[in-house]
């Protein structure tokens, strides 16, 4: 159990946090043939775009309403209208995701009303699904933007149906899961004869594949049609606390019951997940998972020599911190510093004394003497200064390849992640030297003194 505190500083130094609108935009990047748009100045989009391009090493469709000082004060309806018309004409998306920014939220706009009017004025836009999300930069963080966008997609696009589609389940993954994680979860669900609809599905769009043709919109992901049909699923699986609101919204609208998995990293978490799937499908757990579970247990045995008692400092968004942090605590590590970006019910449950909503300076200050830093690529400067190895987790990871293919869920993902961490400890083992174990300079014990004399 942890005490949650918020950094009292006036100046955030070396931010850990990224803004809400780009979290929302990333959710839209997991929808097929989608064009996400940030309603703000063009810089808001440019920064998000560069960040994602460097992380995913993929083309990122992301547009802007290109607000300026005058349009901000006068109201952005015309800019939204022009943006939608231009996007419709040039990119022909099947869906547009519109995230507000700090700029437009400061002014305060009635986007709902504006969109209604824009649709009336432009019949070509009447049928185009446009999902807008309120995501001011000056509130909350990246994972909140993602969660809000998914909730809004559910509100706007999921339809209530009477018929249940046999074997169909909904999967609502948090923003902390990678393409590889999604593929692993999907494969597991399919192994029970179930068919998942993943919302949003970054493993379809940002998994680093080469499309046959050029596309100005997303090159894969959940289709609008699939989203429409989610009301007919047997069940909803939400992964990560952040997804509970979207799962709840889905249940309230359609009656599809949800089950929340706070994490899918670690032995217990996956046991629970497989038992759930087995119960849902009425099928036994396939043999291959028995084997994988055994491999994970063996990995834990092999690794615990190196992980036990190690001090780690972790800086990540709540759900990522929860999955990675609790796993390492399960492996005997001691979490000496836990820094996160935003509130979440998981924070108080963290197996450490304190969780700070803060920045990488807070992490660096608390990480002295630790054995491992776990945070995004911006932790590289702190790692260098402290001389502590850095394991890159989360977004952005701009100085290593393969961020989308990093697997930390399932028995296999947990196994490999444990190996990765243990190998870092192995690599940085402090070996003894002749001077490592000196006797005390002076014994103050009189008995010993007499004996010596």
């Amino acid at each position: 159990m942890a005490i949650v505190t918020t950094s009292k500083k006036f100046c955030s130094v070396n931010p850990l946090k990224m803004s809400q609108p780009i979290g929302g935009a990333l959710a839209f990047l997991g929808i097929a043939n989608c064009m996400p748009v940030l309603h703000g100045s063009q810089g808001c989009t440019a920064f998000g775009l560069v960040l994602f391009v460097r992380h995913f090493r993929e083309a990122i469709p992301l547009q802007t309403t290109a607000m300026n000082e005058v349009t901000t004060i006068m109201g952005g309806r015309d800019n939204i209208e022009q943006a939608l018309l231009n996007i419709y004409k040039r990119a022909k998306p099947e869906i547009v995701g519109l995230c507000t920014t700090g700029l437009t939220e400061t002014k305060g706009e009635d986007i709902h009303g504006d969109l209604k009017l824009i649709r009336e004025r432009n019949p070509e836009l009447a049928e185009l699904p446009i999902v807008f999300v309120d995501t001011p930069d000056f509130k909350d963080a990246f994972q909140d933007g993602w969660a809000k966008a998914v909730t809004r997609i559910v509100e706007e696009l999921v339809e209530k149906t009477e018929e249940t589609i046999p074997g169909q389940v909904n999967l609502l993954p948090g923003s902390h899961l990678t393409s590889a994680d999604l593929e692993e979860i999907v494969e597991t669900i399919e192994a029970f004869g179930l068919t998942p609809i993943v919302l949003p599905d970054l493993s379809g769009s940002l998994d680093g594949h080469i499309p046959e043709q050029f596309s100005p919109t997303t090159i894969g992901g959940t289709t609008v049609e699939q989203i429409h049909s989610m009301g007919g699923s047997l069940a909803t699986i939400a992964v990560g606390q952040q997804m509970e609101s979207a799962a709840l919204e889905l249940e309230m609208r359609t009656g599809v019951p949800y089950t929340l998995f706070d994490r899918l990293t670690g032995l217990d978490a996956n046991d629970r997940f497989l038992m759930f799937l087995s119960g849902l499908s009425g099928k036994p757990v396939p043999l291959k998972y028995r084997r994988q579970r055994s491999q994970l247990a063996d990995a834990m045995l092999d690794a615990h020599f190196y992980t036990g008692g190690k001090k780690i400092a972790i800086g990540a968004e709540p759900d990522l911190m929860w999955s990675v942090g609790t796993l390492l605590a399960d492996m005997g590590c001691e979490i000496t510093a836990a820094i996160t970006t935003t509130h979440s019910p998981q924070l108080e449950k963290m197996p450490c004394e304190e969780v700070v909503i803060g920045d990488l300076e807070d992490l660096e200050m608390r990480a002295k003497g630790c054995d491992l830093l776990l945070t995004h690529a911006h932790g590289r400067q702190a790692s260098e200064r402290l001389g502590i190895p850095l394991l890159r987790i989360g977004i952005p990871c701009f100085d290593r390849l393969g961020a989308a293919h990093k697997l930390t869920v399932g028995y296999r993902g947990t196994r490999d992640f444990i190996f990765e961490v243990a190998n870092l400890f192995l690599e940085h083992t402090h070996e003894g030297t002749p001077d490592s174990w000196p006797l005390p300079e002076k014994y103050d014990d009189p008995v010993t003194q007499t004996t010596a004399a």
């Binding site: 931010p15 946090k17 100045s41 560069v50 391009v53 802007t64 290109a66 700029l103 509130k139």
Partner: protein, 475 residues
């Protein structure tokens, strides 16, 4: 906000910009940036431009006053290198919250400045205005003034909120901040008759260090580079230079011209991209310095160095000539880089099949025409779809561009080279040209292209695989 608008108009009126002077009064007021099209815009904002221009000053703290997006999404993402302090790579932001938006963020900013000074003790602090804090009326100039008086250090307001315009405008507004608050406020320890300023060079990937040895060899001292690998003191005392070179075309013309006006520092516009351009730049520097009283022999020593370095570069390049002759390059980049890189690539026999001129001036365009001939493809705005088509249809062998269009080329399975600000290789001077050509050669001749372009064997009907052939190794 009145302050910013006045500055913006002043910058738009830049008499040093011939393109601007050719316009009528009304058109000029609209500014030098094209109106952005909602839903079809690309590129950074004015704040981004200001940060690009000033962040290379390495020993100061750069505080971004605004919500988390402006700094949190973008910090430490640029390639300007430092030979000393690393403070410029630390991300500082007031990360304002809802309460600040309602009650104003000035107090938070003031306290943030105090915190940074107490913790990091930089020689100066730069404070960047952003859209939200601009909109709620935070007066960063007033806060900086109060903080300067209280803490006894230069606190520089950089008033270039994103929504006033493009990156280029931000560069210029950053220059205005230097002119108003920094340049001329300190004195250099010593001066020499061979002191120069290099303006508009950001030391990306360490490019300044490809030039500095040349200048060192000639006994020319860079009093201040604005702003690559610069220390605050160097910029503050840069008004004592004898001559200046303006590097990045029009991005910092206001700084260069006003320094001529205020301090009598003559300048020329040059480039360190390409062999002949580098030689020209060195000649011009020597010429201006001699005009200002440097020893005459600087001219002949410069010619000797140019001769030696050109010969050395050509020797190193000669082995690539055969491999690269006739290779076709699609060059997508902004402004000045176009024509200077064009001439450089042509020097090794590479053919330029097209170039973008989106950010180029009329003069730049004329130069491209002279270099590439009348039939040259000059694209005002090449849509990614068109780029992809050109590459897919093999109208070019390689694309040189910024990171943004990288994947247009790679997804078309065509070689690509980064020549923008995030690039990892330095391409300046004689050394840089050799590196650029080496990199093009490496990209073109990498063995992956043959492999990745092959369709999966099960998709090709032409040569059905026979198991027998596979067994015997005679596929």
């Amino acid at each position: 906000m009145a302050g910013v608008n006045t500055k913006v108009q002043e910058v738009f009126n830049e008499p040093g910009c011939d393109k601007n002077q050719a316009k009528g009064a009304k058109e000029r007021k609209k500014g030098c940036t094209k109106q952005l099209t909602p839903g079809a815009a690309a590129g950074g904002c004015a704040f981004d431009g200001a940060k690009i221009a000033l962040q290379p000053i390495t020993d100061v703290a750069h505080i971004v006053h605004g919500p988390i997006a402006c700094e949190g999404n973008s910090w430490d993402n640029r390639g300007a290198k430092s030979s000393g302090s690393m403070l410029y790579r630390t991300g500082f932001t007031t990360d304002i919250n809802e309460t600040d938006v309602v009650y104003g963020g000035e107090k938070r900013l003031y306290k943030a400045i105090r915190e940074v000074i107490e913790k990091y003790d930089p020689p100066a602090v730069f404070v960047y205005q952003t859209c939200v804090t601009g909109l709620i009326g935070d007066e960063i100039e007033a806060v900086c003034k109060a903080a300067k008086e209280k803490f006894g250090k230069p606190i520089i307001p950089v008033n270039a909120p994103g929504f006033v315009g493009s990156k280029n405008l931000g560069n210029k507004l950053a220059g205005e901040a230097l002119l108003d608050y920094v340049i001329g406020t300190e004195e250099p320890e010593t001066t020499t008759p061979c002191d120069i300023n290099i303006i508009g060079e950001y030391n990306l990937a360490g490019e300044m260090w490809q030039i500095k040895p040349l200048l060192d060899h000639l006994g020319i001292r860079v009093l201040a580079c604005i702003s690559g690998d610069a220390r605050y003191h160097e910029v503050a005392s840069s008004h004592r230079a004898r001559a200046a070179m303006m590097v990045c075309s029009k991005a910092m013309i206001n700084v260069t011209r006003k320094m001529e006006e205020r301090y009598g520092i003559p300048f020329f516009e040059g480039s360190f991209y390409g062999i002949s351009d580098t030689s020209d730049a060195l000649r011009q520097i020597a010429r201006l310095l001699v005009q200002r009283g440097a020893p005459e022999d600087l001219l002949s020593r410069t010619e000797i160095l140019i001769h030696r370095e050109e010969t050395r570069a050509w020797e190193r390049l000669s082995k690539y000539r055969k491999r690269l002759a006739g290779k076709r390059v699609l060059l997508i980049t902004g402004g000045v880089k176009s024509w200077s890189v064009v001439s450089a690539l042509q020097e090794v026999g590479i053919e330029i099949v097209g170039t973008s001129i989106k950010k180029s001036t009329a003069e730049d365009k004329q130069r491209v025409k002279e270099l590439m001939g009348e039939e040259a493809h000059m694209f005002e705005d090449l849509a990614p779809r068109e780029m992809y088509k050109m590459l897919k249809e093999s109208q070019a062998d390689i694309m040189l561009s910024g990171g943004r269009s990288q994947f247009v080329a790679l997804k078309a399975k065509m070689p690509w080279l980064d020549i923008n600000q995030e690039r990892h290789h330095a391409y300046a001077g004689y050394e840089g040209m050799v590196t650029l050509v080496e990199e093009i050669d490496k990209a073109l001749y990498n063995p992956i292209w043959k492999q990745v372009r092959k369709t999966a064997p099960w998709e090709s009907e032409a040569h059905p695989l026979s198991l027998e052939a596979m067994r015997t190794g005679r596929e």
